[in-house]
Subunit: 305 residues, 2 copies
Amino acid sequence: MMHSIAIHGGAGTLPRADMTPEREAAYRAGLAAALDAGFAVLERGGTSLDAVTTAVRLLEDDPLFNAGHGAVLTHEGTVELDAAIMDGRNLAAGAVAGVSHVRNPVELARAVMEHSPHVMLIGAGAEEFALTRGIALVPNDFFMTDTRRAQLSSVLAGDARPANELSALGTVGAVARDRDGNLAAATSTGGMTGKRYGRVGDTPIIGAGTYADNHACAVSATGHGEYFIRAAVAHDICARVAYGGVTLAQAADAVVMDRLQKMGGEGGIIAIDATGGVVMRFNSEGMFRGARAADGTREILIYRK
Amino acid sequence: MMHSIAIHGGAGTLPRADMTPEREAAYRAGLAAALDAGFAVLERGGTSLDAVTTAVRLLEDDPLFNAGHGAVLTHEGTVELDAAIMDGRNLAAGAVAGVSHVRNPVELARAVMEHSPHVMLIGAGAEEFALTRGIALVPNDFFMTDTRRAQLSSVLAGDARPANELSALGTVGAVARDRDGNLAAATSTGGMTGKRYGRVGDTPIIGAGTYADNHACAVSATGHGEYFIRAAVAHDICARVAYGGVTLAQAADAVVMDRLQKMGGEGGIIAIDATGGVVMRFNSEGMFRGARAADGTREILIYRK
């Protein structure tokens, strides 16, 4: 029994051949900053909710990752963001989808959870709610980077896999267990480059991209969202632990390495069980990820070990 | 093993004392029309997907029920509709949220499933997609009825439970098993009277209000959506059947009569298992519902038996 945290920065990694030492160092630094900030919250006795909020906020602010500032662009060249958060103590949850002017969508999802009677708010209505909570709006331009503009151009030009594409399976997320034994999960994303028609992936779907239940586990997913929704990935992993009598590692293997793989769903998950044990599984080439626990473990990884 | 169908018209029923014979006859007639039309699809060898689409479309068109024409009004006096559909054969799914100009949202959800690479589309983007599929848009006024306008006025005047309020837990849905043994589920709603900020309930959330998996069951839910999302009701019932070694009836009882009840989540579900057996459970005063099966069973009910 220990406090611990795991984070991810998406399952859409560069092919190993394209990864330079400089780029890798930058990604590792971004992951380390989020991981250590989240862990510091737990160390000083903070809640798992605060830890995952802190970690995800830092990943949202880091332009390297596909969430918040640096999110991918839609078909129309705008940014539309989704996020969710869940409290394993009481199954409270908050989610937002299709927001375009909120700097840290994870904080808005948390405000929905804590200060509204609702779980999910979308689009302009979600931003109206943000204003009632005193959350300042930012121009949509705030989120855009030249890298993402170039990726959109490549996609619109018909490139299925544009140069330096890191976004197809891009998401950020965190799961944590605090000293009181409470679990929490949070996930945030800009979705897919060139997405259209108000497409929403698994990230803000409670049970798909995000789920937390003290009696089972907390999960944050990243990958080809449509498959993760159809398989109800985050809840399915928790349900296998709760009803199937398997360990978290076995449940994650069954869902990510078997069920999703057979469906053709690329991606992965980070998860934490009631004892604070961390599991990180992916069926893609890599997954930006890190984990740190009270027993001194600290690892930051990109590709398979 | 048989083909069968179950439908619901929401768990938000009138208190028994307020139900007149005329009103009850009207509700029963609307339920019977949808039930029999869906069952006729199965009788002639049609798919469960076609059966649930047919039943839900009729309930959407019936102004008595809170979906499509006759849906409840938002705080702003508009109508915003949500719907989802799922194919238990291959876990294909489609969902839309916050659409305002599509006559039959269940048909749009099905178009998303069958003709887009996505599962969930929201708002204006979903309507843009509808146009690409040749689905004609209708004015928002099309959906409005005097009854719903009066209910909104009551809610805005501070009435927690306005006269003739049938909408708080209003939703429509259907589940079916066809002759080939395939399961399907569909759900559609206008949400809650006076809803704000782009609020989305459980209906379009795959795993919450709607789920179907041939290996477990198909579920359509109706109730206080926020609780149904947090408990991932539809997927949880299927997971208990798949991993917990319980019957569908036991799983439904555990989720609806125990877990949701303890959380304070009012409402119910209809569900069907791999053999075609139907379960309808609710913890509210009533649930508009009906079921019909190849063995000759046919029932239409409102209150507890």
